[in-house]
């Protein structure tokens, strides 16, 4: 039997793969998650996710809280689970790991990984010392579904590729909003693609696989012959097919770093959406957050950042991009040349115009766009650990992270910040991820070599479907289109390139839960390591103090220092400034203190009363505060 990707590509509540999967868990997972109460054989709807979260929090109410951080246009609460033993330092001031999933509404696997991590941490608290320490001293903030409205669309009657939220948006700026969505013409419950014989069409059959198309290269003597569209009608009669569908804003393109200004899916402006505002307001009020882990369509974990701090190139889905390209001209309709308008022709660029030689620069510092070289080793070490724990070697489809939340997390919030699709089409040849695979034998989805560049990732996916026995591609089938005439409908099914089959969810969970714990174990830990008080007589005392960072990460990433986003460590002696005779000033700041036992010394010579008690205060944003009373003697 061919393993169906959840019933013709849709996410159904009951999975055909349940039985197979239950068997596989036993075989595959080296460290199976213990005592699971949540069912991970399917993707969870919003209501199912909500009740799973409520159940987990209810049964671990000593260490878990469920809060709503905002409400969507569709009226759904955006949940955050806060995991911390509330005794001690206020939770919002603690070092914390923030996890956020499902910014892209179609990325359901992220929600499952986040949910399972919550469950694992809660159930391990009683028996796992490492987990207990993190929950007692630190905090985990987990937002498993940032885009519940978008996610819910995945469970609708027709699978549409929708990724954004429900904010209406005039994608083609023609004065009509959401007026030309795709239609499921052949009634298979899926929006796929239409290819049409068209002498002026830019695409040719891909020699690597006749199911795929590639752009013809005239310089190589190639000619096209196919046009490609999204499945559906031209509802508004503008000559474009399906150029303005329902919603929406892609939340992971709506944040402040390298924001894609005025792109049709990025919102009217940065942080324009209820969901993105909710996440921003949540994180900026929790400056103890020391690392961010997101699950989404971009990656800096499966592929480590390069030597200059650049991320690996995105692995696009060509068929998707080709269909998108068919609508891009809709935004250019009706542009008139102003030269014919009777206005004075040509001429000046304007009195206030930029002087010659303008362009970038001149205006001062540029925002950073690559990982700082000082921070890079930390990123690479962490990515290597991710690869080791999860076994994932290659993601299915990724995209460049312009406007992504995790990029804000590093470049502006100033902490190590990560994104991973959370699954892959090539896994390590380790025993944890291999043996029992249906269709088994060798690494998953190999055989990509030698394909033409334009579609090699598409071809790789088709090969992976083959090896995994996944029904992820609709074979091209003739259809009589009311406007285009004879077309063929087919192509990748929605969501198969953003989520693994439900049967594979379970094997991904343990590695990600352990990675979350690992990340939280790396935080800086700054303490007052030693103090001495020396009496020089005559009411003059010398105070010496050493502070030490015993954690792995520095107290601030280099980018956190550059961005001024992470407060310096403050060391303050509780005396009147006038009482200090010489030495350090009363209040000292260290912009960043490296980890792994790095120390810094201070000394003050002060005037004081013998026997007086003086407070030495240490304050570190990402590793808590400490205060010590010293006696002058």
């Amino acid at each position: 039997m061919r393993k169906r990707w959840q019933g013709e590509g849709r996410i159904s509540r009951t999975s055909i793969g349940v039985v197979a999967c239950a068997l596989m868990v036993l075989v595959l997972t080296a460290e199976p998650l213990r005592a699971q109460t949540v069912d991970y054989t399917k993707y969870h709807t919003y209501d199912e996710l909500t009740s799973a979260l409520q159940g987990l929090v209810r049964s671990h109410s000593n260490i878990a809280t469920l809060v709503s951080i905002g409400e969507t246009r569709g009226g759904r609460s955006i949940w955050a689970v806060e995991i911390a033993n509330r005794a001690g330092v206020p939770v919002d001031e603690r070092p914390a790991l923030l996890m956020a999933a499902n910014l892209e509404g179609d990325h359901l696997i992220g929600s499952e990984l986040a949910l399972a991590t919550v469950e694992w941490l809660l159930t391990e608290y009683g028996s796992n010392d490492e987990v207990r320490r993190r929950i007692d001293e630190q905090a985990f903030f987990v937002v498993p579904r940032v885009n519940p409205d978008g996610a819910e669309a995945v469970f609708g009657p027709v699978a549409t590729w929708q990724r954004g939220n429900l904010t209406p948006y005039d994608d083609d700026n023609d004065g009509r909003v959401d007026e030309d969505p795709p239609e499921d013409l052949n009634g298979d419950g899926l929006i796929t693609f239409m290819r049409v014989r068209d002498p002026s069409g830019p695409y040719m059959t891909d020699p690597a696989d006749a199911r795929l198309l590639k752009r013809a290269d005239a310089s190589k003597g190639e000619s096209g012959g196919w046009a490609l569209y999204w499945e559906g009608r031209d509802n508004d009669g503008d000559g474009f097919y399906n150029e303005d569908g329902v919603g929406g804003v892609d939340l992971n393109r709506n944040f402040q770093h390298e924001y894609p200004y005025y792109a049709k899916d990025a919102g009217r402006h940065m942080v324009s959406e209820a969901e993105s505002i909710a996440l921003m307001e949540y994180v900026i009020r929790r400056r103890g957050v020391a690392a961010i882990l997101t699950f989404g369509a971009s990656d800096n974990l499966i592929s480590s950042p390069g030597g200059r701090g650049e991320l690996a190139a995105a692995a696009a889905l060509s068929l998707f991009d080709q269909a998108e390209a068919s609508t891009s001209g809709a935004r250019a309709v009706g542009v008139m040349s102003t030269a014919t308008a009777g206005f004075g022709r040509g001429g000046r660029g304007g009195r206030g115009g930029a002087p010659a030689g303008g362009g970038r620069g001149g205006g001062g510092q540029q925002p950073a766009t690559m990982i700082d070289t000082t921070d890079l080793e930390y990123f690479r070490t962490i990515a290597a650990k991710y690869q080791e724990l999860t076994g994932i070697r290659r993601a299915a489809v990724t995209r460049a992270p312009r406007g992504a939340f995790f990029e804000y997390g590093y470049y502006q919030f100033g902490v190590p910040s990560f994104s991973t699709p959370g699954w892959g089409i090539e896994m390590a040849a380790a025993d944890t991820a291999q043996g029992g695979q249906a269709g088994g034998g060798g690494q998953r989805g190999g055989g990509a070599g030698g394909s033409p560049v334009a579609t090699d990732n598409d071809k790789r996916l088709l090969d992976w479907f083959e090896s995994e026995n996944i029904d992820g591609f609709v074979d091209w089938t003739p259809f009589d289109h009311p406007q285009l005439g004879e077309v063929e409908i087919g192509g990748f099914k929605p969501y198969v390139t953003s989520n693994p089959p439900a049967a594979q969810i379970d094997e991904l969970l343990a590695g990600h839960a352990q990675f979350a714990l690992y990340l939280s174990s790396l935080f800086p830990r700054v303490r007052i390591a030693s103090t001495t008080v020396t009496d020089h007589g005559g009411g003059v005392f010398r105070i010496e103090a050493e502070i030490e960072n015993t954690g792995y990460l520095p107290t601030a990433a280099a980018q956190g220092v550059r961005a001024g986003a992470v407060q310096p460590v403050m060391v303050q002696l509780g005396v009147d400034p006038e009482a200090i005779i010489t030495g350090d000033v009363k209040t000292n700041f260290i912009s960043a203190l490296a980890g792994s036992g790095t120390r810094r010394s201070f000394q003050w010579v002060i005037r004081g009363q013998p026997g007086a008690r003086i407070e030495l205060k240490l304050r570190s944003q990402k590793s808590g505060s400490e205060s010590m009373m010293l006696t002058l003697r």
């Binding site: 308008a341 206005f343 004075g344 660029g349 304007g350 700041f589 304050r619």
Partner: protein, 594 residues
């Protein structure tokens, strides 16, 4: 061929007529003009500085006096809980707000830049007092809508006016400037209780870097390199409030309400004062929500101080200059403004002032497609503003030579009102010092007696901009039988103002809905195109759009331009042609095929 002539420029015709009428009526025929000015219905003062409550009270007075035109409402609350009041000026007899191009005018985003608010009150007052009296004003109020927000930073305004004037550029969301975990805990202090923050100077014989001006010891001047003076300056009046050994290191707020906007927004390390994300500040959010829901706004003015500038974007060089078509529009407006505003220069923000990322008018231009200026009110050159006095200032023996001119002006025109003489003070951290210097209302703000002229001239520039917002009209129409029931139809489409209906930048960014040309009637459209030259035979630029009954004109209609649309239609009877523009209005005409 049959030509019918619609009123091409009904407004201009009416204006012309009214000028004739006005000149033919003698002063004695008009009530109230008996050799003196007509009395004002509402009397307001434009020679003192008003706090937020007083501004709003003036607006309420005007609203009560002119209820047909004026309506006030709050756009939202400031961080400190003060309303951000909006005054709308609209004549309901000439159409609803959204059917007319609107001019948005605001002021005071920086709390200490107070005189712009007074300009906005003056504007409301002037438009209302002169409606029906001055023809141009009447026409302007009839054609346009005005949205006026006198202060977008009422917390900062009141902090400036009620307090000592220190640190009041910012808004008042607390920020921990010095990273000690405390917020706004160490600002300046009015140590000598004179409701002013002065400078601190200390006498350090032979060890300082300042000396007293030989001609007037109230003035401090830096000593030349290599010499020593007897004085040092120790910053603003204040003490170490939080006992951390530093003075005045964490005053109120600490951000810039004019860097929290969504075009070229940059994080704090690139643009100080930007906050964490655009529209994080309640004031910016309230204003933006209003602007985004009012696409009829075609013009923006945000009054600042000082320096005497008519500023436009971009705020940063790396944004690149505006498209040439937009520059031409800005130049026509800005250069006109220079003639209305002596001592003011028309400049681009980044090259003429300094680099600004995430500034307000960058957002309104780039993100909302509104032609936007920011005037920097008041130029110090206006203290001595005749060529003869400027000449005299070159004389080193003159009491108004540059270093002495400020105190001269204060001594003899303001009678010493603006300068606090140096007086000794025992400072807890610095020991014996002296406090003294200029008051908060001097320097960036004009002398009160010069404010009304400032208000009027700046208003005149803004009203010129408002008048030159786009305004669509349909002119001559023509219907000619080509053969059988096939007709050629020509219609002239005109925008006689300077500004286009859609700026080139707005079209690039897709932030303004396109203009639409609708044709309705019992006819089939065979083709449509733009006639290159109505008066000479030649080609027509065919419109390559699938739906010719709803033609999209994405980059709108340029200013001071007439275009002629041609339809080839098959049919008979009446055709209705409608031009719809979000900022240029909707106009309609009927063509009969017979």
């Amino acid at each position: 061929m049959r030509m019918t002539t619609n009123p091409v420029r009904p407004v201009l015709a009416a204006l012309l007529l009214s000028v004739l009428v006005a000149t033919s009526v003698s002063a004695q025929d008009r009530p109230g003009i008996q050799g003196s000015d007509p009395p004002h219905k509402v009397r307001l003062d434009f020679n003192r500085w008003h706090d937020t409550a007083e501004l709003y009270e003036d607006l309420r007075t005007l609203e009560r006096a002119y209820p047909k035109f004026l309506s006030m409402r709050s756009l939202g609350k400031s961080h400190g809980g003060r309303d951000l009041m909006l005054m709308t000026i609209n004549n309901p007899d000439t159409g609803s707000e959204m059917s007319k191009a609107a001019m948005y005018i605001e002021a005071n985003v920086h709390g200490n830049e107070i005189q712009g608010s007074e300009v906005t009150i003056y504007t409301v007052w002037y438009l209302m007092e002169n409606y029906g009296r001055i023809e141009q004003i009447t026409k302007l109020v009839d054609e346009r809508v005005f949205y006026i927000v006198p202060t977008v930073n009422p917390d900062g305004r009141d902090y400036f006016l009620h307090g000592t004037g220190a640190g009041s550029r910012t808004g008042h969301v607390p920020v921990d400037d010095d990273n000690d975990g405390l917020f706004d805990e160490d600002g300046p202090d009015d140590l000598n209780s004179n409701n002013n923050i002065e400078q601190i100077r200390k006498y350090v014989p032979g060890e300082g870097n300042y000396r007293l001006n030989a001609a007037d010891p109230r003035l401090m001047e830096p000593v030349p390199p290599g010499e020593f003076g007897d004085w040092i300056l120790l910053g603003s009046e204040g003490i170490d409030n939080d006992g951390d050994g530093r003075v005045n290191e964490d005053g109120p707020g600490g951000y810039d309400g004019n860097r929290n906007w969504a075009s070229d927004w940059q994080p704090e390390y690139i643009q100080g004062g930007a906050m964490d994300y655009p529209f994080q500040l309640p004031e910016a959010k309230a204003v933006n929500d209003f602007l985004m829901s009012h696409p009829n706004i075609a013009g923006v003015q945000s009054y600042h101080n000082s320096g005497g500038m008519i500023l436009r974007g971009p705020g940063a060089e790396w944004q690149g200059d505006y498209p040439a078509a937009d520059n031409r529009v800005y130049d026509q407006l800005g250069e006109h403004g220079q003639r209305l505003l002596p001592y003011y220069d028309y400049l681009v923000i980044w090259s003429g002032l300094y680099t600004v990322h995430g500034g307000f008018i960058d957002w309104t231009n780039d993100g909302l497609g509104m032609i936007s200026f920011s005037n920097e009110l008041w130029n110090g050159g206006q203290y001595f503003n005749s060529p003869a006095l400027k000449e005299q200032q070159q004389d080193p023996d003159s009491p108004i030579r540059p270093d002495l001119s400020g105190l001269f002006f204060d001594d003899y025109l303001e009678f010493g009102d603006q300068f606090v003489d140096w007086t000794p003070f025992e400072h807890p951290q610095y020991g014996l010092v002296e406090l003294g210097g200029w008051k908060k209302t001097r320097g960036r703000i004009p002398p009160r007696f010069m404010q009304e002229e400032l208000a009027h001239r700046n208003m005149a520039f803004t009203l010129f901009q408002a008048g030159e917002m786009p305004m669509m009209a349909l002119g001559e129409t023509m219907a000619e039988r080509v053969g059988g029931d096939v007709w050629r139809v020509w219609v002239d489409i005109t925008n006689d103002r300077i500004a286009p209906t859609i700026t080139a930048r707005a079209a690039e960014n897709h932030v303004v809905p396109p203009d639409l040309l609708h044709l309705e009637g019992a006819a089939e459209v065979i083709s449509a195109g733009w006639v290159r030259n109505k008066h000479a035979p030649g080609a027509t630029d065919m419109i390559d759009q699938a739906d010719l009954e709803r033609i999209i004109i994405r980059n709108g209609h340029p200013g001071r331009t007439t275009r002629t649309i041609e339809y080839i239609v098959r049919g008979s009877g009446a055709l209705d042609l409608r031009y719809e523009s979000v900022k240029g209005g909707t106009v309609q005409t009927r063509i009969n095929l017979r």
